[in-house]
């Protein structure tokens, strides 16, 4: 039972983070790139920036956020490695 709760919570966490992953890369960088390119910030068209810079930065942040939240999830469900 405990395993099941932990696993569902874990799937929810991974699901949310992967939605963001999809949104910034495939969403902002590819599918909506033309719309976002209408907006220019400094010398960057926004869609182009997401495709060549923004998505990569978000990827890095996502993994660290996952590491922190997954470790916390382990502790609250008493399945963390304690050695």
């Amino acid at each position: 039972m405990k395993h099941r709760q932990y696993w569902i919570a874990n799937l929810r966490l991974v699901g949310i983070l992967l939605s963001i992953w999809f949104l910034v890369s495939f969403g902002c960088g590819i599918l909506f790139v033309d719309v976002l390119n209408q907006i220019q910030i400094g010398g960057f068209k926004l869609g182009f920036w997401f495709a060549q810079q923004g998505s990569i930065v978000v990827f890095v942040v996502l993994i660290f956020v996952y590491a922190v939240l997954a470790n916390r999830l382990d502790r609250t469900h008493d399945v963390d490695e304690n050695e």
């Binding site: 405990k2 395993h3 932990y6 696993w7 874990n10 991974v14 983070l17 992967l18 992953w21 890369s25 495939f26 960088g29 590819i30 599918l31 790139v33 390119n37 910030i41 400094g42 010398g43 960057f44 068209k45 182009f48 920036w49 495709a51 060549q52 810079q53 998505s55 990569i56 930065v57 990827f59 890095v60 996502l62 993994i63 660290f64 996952y66 590491a67 997954a70 470790n71 382990d74 469900h77 008493d78 399945v79 963390d80 490695e81 304690n82 050695e83």
Partner: protein, 589 residues
């Protein structure tokens, strides 16, 4: 000191460092040899993964590729970084919990099938050998270009160095050499980039610089670049010319291909704990991102420098094209190597560089008196010539040489090691001699590594012409064969051995046939490689995604039509999913 001597000095010094590190961290057991004894810290593993991942192609060719592709180059930037998110969230922690040595071993245990394990070994060998042959070739070319030696001698030197540290050091040895190689690479890459960005935009940070105004005050770099290249008949830099469907599928194929590459996955077997695997993936991507966010800046700046050097004023004004006699020094240097060639078609003594494949623009060019594009540029020189364009001292060039060699060697070593581990551990030990002692397995592992190096060297030396195409093949196969069955093996308890075998074979066969049908490797191409002929408009580079979907579908359907896995396998899956079994459940027994 002459530049040549300086290069010998720096490259030779870096070799001594790698070999020294390998001797210092010699492998004493199979655990050391396959997974570095599982004692690698997450930060060190992150650096080693980054060096493992970034190949000679990333280091030398990627920025140049982006310079000429513009927005379309984003497929490589997102594709070769986004895969780490999938890896970190869906695979790495669970595979680390599994806690054994190789990817085929996981597939064999999870699917309770020696056949599945053997099929996985075949996929792994196909993927890794295609990759490593290109790396060995890269080592040879870098040697030839920087040290003025024959490609063959360069190749043999590279093989010798990898031989010493991979065969003796195993995973433990290559991990610490890769950490050193990462430092050499990233220094060599970012330093010229910083100087070039500062020269063109007055901003010393490449990631910001390419979104800034030009130092001469004529406007934003990217806007000016768009304007000039379109005036010369090229596609707009920030828009690109590939279809959205194709960009989507290529990016996805590279991402899931990354997550399915055995030499990358196995790096996460080397850290002590599950939580280390999670955070280590973050460090790996951070270290990769330093180069991958610099590359597009280098690409756009290099394209601008090149275009502005040749097209000195408004397009169409005769005097706005550079006179050949006035070409800069770096132009002459690279002309000698044959990587830039000039052919004065209209005999005006000036260089016209434009897109003569664009029929609409050719008419305009005719009215200017231009009789065809006169300049051919090898895209690799955009990175290699950077220090000269920026006027940096000779020792920076020496570091670029050392960095390029480090990039090729680190990737080659990682690939060779997964090949030798798969052969010694997953074939020799598990199929032929189950009772082999640890000591003997280590000897077999070393022999396999030595044989793999010789074979890779031979392939690199005698590289068939189609190898540039083969990169797409390696990613396609990784995406379509290994990734789906690893993922399902963790996230479904119902999938079974027969399903996985059918799934892997379906993905492998479909992807291989599709790529072959257009690119022709095993047999001659059946269709012309143009968008009209592609299935759903997906190019061979992106087809791995469909292969993966097919693999998922076949594995699931076959599994649900056949009997569920044994209880031991179900227990294994539950074991993978939690870092530690909860106290309350232990008491239940």
């Amino acid at each position: 000191m002459s530049q040549q001597l300086l290069i010998y000095f720096v490259v030779g010094g870096s070799f001594l460092l790698y070999i020294g590190l390998a001797i210092y961290s010699k492998a004493n057991s199979t655990s050391d040899f396959y997974v570095a004894g599982k004692h690698v810290s997450p930060v060190a593993n992150g650096m080693a993964t980054a060096a493992d991942w970034m190949s000679a192609a990333s280091f030398i060719s990627m920025a140049g590729l982006i310079a000429f592709l513009g927005y379309d180059g984003s497929v490589y930037l997102m594709g070769w970084t986004g895969g780490y998110v999938i890896l970190a969230l869906l695979l790495a922690p669970y595979l680390r919990k599994f806690g054994k040595y190789t990817v085929p071993e996981f597939i064999g245990d999870r699917y309770d099938s020696q056949i599945a394990r053997t099929v996985a070994v075949i996929c792994l060998i196909v993927i890794s050998f295609t990759y490593v042959a290109g790396q060995m070739r890269g080592v040879g070319i870098v040697f030839a270009r920087f040290l003025n030696v024959d490609v063959t001698i360069g190749l043999l030197t590279g093989m010798g160095v990898v031989f010493v540290y991979a065969v003796f050091g195993g995973m433990k040895g290559i991990t610490y050499t890769q950490v050193a190689q990462y430092c050499v690479m990233i220094f060599a890459y970012t330093l010229p980039a910083i100087f070039i960005t500062f020269q063109v935009t007055n901003i010393p940070i490449p990631q910001l610089g390419f979104g800034s105004e030009l130092a001469d005050g004529s406007g934003y770099l990217l806007n000016r670049l768009d304007q000039v290249v379109t005036e010369l008949g090229f596609a707009s830099y920030t828009d690109g010319s590939k279809s959205m469907v194709d960009v989507f599928f290529i990016t996805m194929a590279l991402m899931i291909g990354t997550a399915g590459l055995p030499h990358v996955i196995v790096r996460f077997f080397t850290v002590p704990r599950v939580r280390d695997a999670r955070v280590s993936a973050g460090y790996a991507l951070l270290f990769i991102a330093i180069l991958y966010t610099t590359a597009p800046a280098v690409g756009s700046l290099a394209r601008w420098n090149l275009t502005a050097t040749i097209q000195t004023g408004d397009v169409g004004v005769p005097t706005a094209n550079l006179q050949y006699e006035e070409r800069p020094e770096w132009f002459k240097t690279w002309e000698e190597t044959g990587l830039i060639t000039f052919d004065d078609k209209n005999q005006d003594g000036r260089i016209q560089y434009y897109n003569d494949a664009n029929e609409e623009f050719v008419a305009v060019a005719d009215s200017y008196g231009w009789e065809g594009n006169e300049l051919t540029i090898d895209r690799d020189i955009l990175v290699l010539a950077n220090p000269e364009i920026a006027g940096l001292p000779d020792w920076v060039v020496a570091f670029i040489a050392a960095g390029a060699i480090a990039a090729a060697l680190s990737t080659a070593a990682g690939l060779l090691l997964v090949i030798s581990a798969a052969v010694s551990h997953d074939l020799v030990k598990s199929v032929f001699n189950r009772n082999m002692s640890d000591r003997n397995e280590l000897i077999v592992g070393r022999i396999c590594a030595a044989v793999a190096i010789c074979l890779a060297g031979y392939l690199g030396f005698d590289l068939p012409a189609f190898v540039a195409e083969v990169v797409a093949f390696a990613f396609g196969i990784a995406a379509a064969s290994l990734f789906p069955v690893i993922l399902l093996g963790i996230f479904s308890v119902r999938v079974n051995g027969i399903g996985a075998i059918c799934g892997m074979l379906a993905g492998l066969v479909f992807t291989t046939l599709y790529i072959n049908a257009f690119k022709g490797m095993l047999f001659s191409p059946m269709f012309e490689n143009i968008p009209e002929n592609w299935l759903f408009g997906i190019s061979p580079e992106g087809i791995g995604v469909l292969g993966a979907l097919l693999n998922f579908a076949v594995t699931l359907v076959v599994s649900y039509c056949t009997k569920a896995p044994r209880q031991e396998v179900v227990d294994l899956v539950y074991h993978l999913r939690t870092p530690r079994v909860a106290q309350s459940e232990v008491s239940h027994g």
